[in-house]
């Protein structure tokens, strides 16, 4: 699993109210930055900063939404399903369950399934 950020960064993100709000809203359905800005009552730049951090930690996935008129725009979907925090030798250890990505294929599902047994 590629992880661009460490446990501290993820814990800090979960402590951040805007990051939490983004994860909450996008866990129900994918949303654009504009929609998130409205729903979370935050400026677009605040939303984009949180989106970048969440994406770096692989907790958020960017997707393309195609409108009927042919335009497309970025929407974001939460990948976070569950976080378990345990402590080993006084350090927090995170076990993170992520949801399937849009481009996940059979080998990825197989790995997740087998490792989850």
């Amino acid at each position: 699993m590629s992880e661009e950020c460490d446990e501290t960064e993820i814990l800090a993100l979960l402590d951040d109210e805007y990051a939490r709000a983004i994860l909450g809203e996008t866990s129900a359905q994918p949303m654009s930055a504009t929609e998130l800005s409205d729903r979370c009552d935050a400026s677009r730049s605040t939303i984009y900063r949180r989106i970048d951090r969440l994406t770096d930690c692989n907790l958020l996935e960017e997707r393309m939404r195609y409108d009927p008129d042919g335009h497309h725009r970025s929407v974001y979907a939460s990948r976070l399903e569950e976080v378990r925090v345990t402590f080993e030798e006084a350090e927090p250890v995170l076990a993170i369950e992520r949801t399937e990505t849009a481009d996940e294929d059979v080998a990825d599902r197989f790995t997740r399934m087998w490792e989850g047994l």
């Binding site: 699993m1 059979v106 080998a107 990825d108 197989f110 790995t111 087998w114 490792e115 047994l117």
Partner: protein, 104 residues
């Protein structure tokens, strides 16, 4: 009868071949899972499946042909069966190990 194979033998051979191909498909996906996720347990699973299906089947098949053609001494029949069984045991042992060898 084709090349000394009865129809029943041919059906058995076809079934073994299908089992081997399916084992190869699952083993290949496990190998891709290992490559994409650097997952040690997927590597053990793929090698285990390969030993259990393709390797043991190929050895049994080639061995039977050689025995039939009398390239191999008939006394080698049991040792050959033993080696095939041991390969299957090794394959299943690897798969079992991969189940218990949890990623961090």
């Amino acid at each position: 009868m084709i090349y000394g194979f009865t129809n029943l033998r041919l059906v058995i051979l076809a079934a073994s071949l299908v089992a081997t191909l399916l084992g190869l498909v699952v083993g290949y996906q496990a190998y891709r899972g290992f490559r994409r996720h650097q997952s040690a347990s997927m590597r053990q699973l793929s090698v285990g499946l390969l030993l259990l299906t393709a390797v043991s089947f190929t050895l049994a098949f080639v061995g039977t042909l050689l025995l039939r053609a009398e390239y191999l001494d008939p006394s080698l029949r049991d040792p050959l069966t033993l080696v095939v069984r041991l390969l299957q045991v090794a394959g299943l042992a690897l798969i079992t190990y991969s189940l218990y060898n949890r990623p961090d």
